[in-house]
């Protein structure tokens, strides 16, 4: 295929696909709507990543470096695709600034959007300054300023992490498990304990899904080495007694209501479909699944295919996904794009 492959989105999946294609000698155009590459780990300032414990800026930064400025990779920042026309093998994408890009095929690596906690007002986000999200805690850690209550800058004595905020919740139309938050929360809890050993961390859970090998390295390491405590309770509401936050719920293992004071409450926010997915769906002519993520055509036979021939998808655009799996899917999509032969064209050649 002589025409370049258009990759939409410069996060882990897009960077991985771009690297794989460039390594195979395939020209790539990488379109990113923000002013820099890296996706959520870089744009949202993640701290140390699961499972390698490397800093996001080092690990994902290295992925950016090996793509940016590389021969055969044309990176367009601050760019969005406005229309996408043509046939498989001869697509034309028009950017918002009017630039036209010819592409043989395209890979959508448009990622996800963090759940906005104001949609669960009973848990106090937006009402009390010391109610924060996992993303904010990631930023506290990666900025080097440590764990501090936003209200007055004190180091919290006690932190509660609430799991499944914006996940597994029919009330707000989000029935999926966001897959990563349990492990991320255990990771964050351990980092908090390391940064301020006097801070006690409690995790309120319904189920714990630190899947696979994370069971030992995160679920148990957080308890055995870092003394993080897990409480089986779905929290009903977060209020304040004027001084500290009050976390109310039912401890279901002892069948008793709890009303416990905390200095900081952290929402382990889930992964929503990209807020632009309706637009992406109509611009690229791809179907969304019932949850609002970009639908994959097949699970086994044709990895990365959407309903539209020549348009592939990878990473968290397809559903909640880990960084390492997004990278693997990016490579799989690159493989699919490299091997893609538009129907009818083979016979013509």
């Amino acid at each position: 295929m002589t025409k370049p492959v258009l990759i939409v989105g410069g996060g882990p999946a897009g960077l991985s696909a771009a690297h794989a294609l460039a390594s195979a000698g395939q020209k790539v155009v990488l379109v990113e709507k923000e002013d820099r590459l890296g996706g959520a780990p870089i744009l949202d300032g993640y701290a140390k990543l699961v499972p390698s414990h490397e800093w996001a800026k080092d690990a994902i930064g290295a992925m950016v470096d090996r793509v940016q400025g590389r021969e055969g990779v044309d990176v367009r920042l601050n760019a969005q695709v406005q229309s996408f026309e043509g046939e498989p093998g001869a697509f034309t994408a028009t950017l918002k600034d009017g630039t036209k890009i010819e592409a043989g095929s395209t890979i959508l690596t448009t990622g996800f959007t963090h759940f906005d906690s104001v949609n669960k007002p009973e848990w106090g986000f937006g009402t009390f300054p010391d109610v924060v999200t996992t993303v904010q805690v990631e930023q506290m850690i990666s900025s080097g300023k440590g764990i501090r209550c936003p209200s007055d800058g004190r180091v919290p004595d006690r932190v509660a992490i609430l799991l499944c905020v914006g996940s597994r919740d029919r009330q707000i139309g989000r029935e999926w498990c966001s897959k990563i938050c349990c492990t991320v929360s255990a990771n964050i809890a351990m980092e908090i304990r390391e940064l301020s050993p006097k801070t006690n961390v409690y995790i309120y859970y319904m189920d714990i899904r630190t899947f696979g090998l994370y069971e030992g390295d995160y679920y148990w390491a957080s308890q055995e080495e870092h003394k993080v405590k897990y409480i089986k309770a779905r929290i009903a509401e977060v209020t304040s007694d004027g001084k500290r936050l009050l976390v109310k719920g039912e401890d279901t293992l002892i069948k008793r209501p709890v009303s416990i004071p905390f200095d900081m409450v952290v929402h382990a926010i889930g992964m929503d479909p990209n807020v632009d997915n309706m637009t992406i769906s109509s611009v690229f002519g791809v179907d969304l699944n019932k949850y609002g993520y970009i639908a994959k055509q097949s699970t086994y036979a044709h990895l990365a295919e959407t309903n539209r021939p020549g348009v592939f998808v990878a990473g968290a655009a397809t559903g909640p996904e880990t960084i390492d799996d997004s990278i693997a899917q990016g490579q799989a999509a690159a493989m699919a794009a490299l091997n893609f032969k538009p129907a009818g064209k083979v016979a013509a050649e």
């Binding site: 055995e224 003394k227 409480i231 109310k248 002892i254 008793r256 209501p257 709890v258 009303s259 416990i260």
Partner: protein, 246 residues
């Protein structure tokens, strides 16, 4: 509304006010009985660490609340209130008040160790029960348990003389725990011995009671053991933040 099932509510949670006026309305008397909230209001952040620092409690942090220990438990089969799984949960999260409600049955663990073999996480619940009973004693929540009294009498004799004299261990144990010496089973045992045992052995036993034999050159060992015991007890007291001896 009247409270129909007062028996279901913990006594201390039922409140009557002899004279109470709310918004200008006199609501004194028993018909305005209130039920106070029963929600848990705090965690004791240090509790797990304190009990984990006592012998036997080391692995408490491994528990995942499967309940194998309670299902395997000999005492639970007789008394459903005896629930190691539940107490481990309370300890891990520092629900001290809840644990103290059961302080008078926790020591009843018979150390059969069925829980220890059932536990998939190697928590050693039997050890945790021991450490918890110990913690309750050190904190002054419970008097010394009978088994502690026995252990102290037993080891006290060993430390003093290098030997134990069974009859004195039994006698002193009964005295310490304020039990009558003439236990029916003991009387039966002694009678049986008197009738069936060779005279020679009976004489030796009688002599032992009178002479109180000691191990020779024991003083040096006694000093070393005492030193070690004091060290361990000081460490245990330090672990629970308690002062002085007991």
């Amino acid at each position: 509304m009247p409270i129909h099932e007062k028996s279901l509510i913990r006594k201390e949670n039922l409140v009557e006010n002899e004279s109470l006026v709310i918004d200008g309305v006199d609501v004194s008397g028993h018909w305005s009985t209130f039920i106070t909230g029963r929600s848990l209001t705090d965690y004791n952040d240090d509790m797990q660490d304190e009990i984990a620092a006592l012998p036997g409690g080391e692995n408490i942090h491994r528990c995942w609340q499967c309940g194998s220990c309670t299902n395997a438990c000999t005492v639970n089969a007789v008394n459903p209130e005896f629930n190691p799984r539940y107490w481990i949960y309370l300890i891990r999260l520092g629900m001290e008040e809840e644990l103290l409600r059961d302080k008078d049955i926790i020591w009843q663990c018979v150390s059969c160790n069925k829980c220890t073999y059932a536990c998939p996480r190697d928590v050693v619940p039997e050890g945790v029960m021991k450490a918890t009973a110990h913690w309750l004693e050190l904190k002054g929540h419970t008097p010394k348990s009978p088994s502690t009294e026995f252990d102290e009498e037993f080891s006290g004799q060993v430390i003093k003389t290098g030997k134990i004299e069974e009859s004195r261990v039994i006698m002193n144990f009964f005295r310490r725990t304020e039990q009558p010496l003439a236990q029916p089973w003991l009387v039966a045992l002694i009678k049986g011995l008197a009738f069936r045992f060779p005279v020679f052995y009976l004489m030796r036993m009688g002599m032992a009671v009178v002479r109180r034999p000691r191990t020779r050159n024991w003083a040096k060992s006694r000093r070393a053991i005492n030193e070690y015991v004091q060290e361990v007890e000081a460490a245990n007291r330090a672990a629970v933040g308690a002062k002085g001896g007991h």
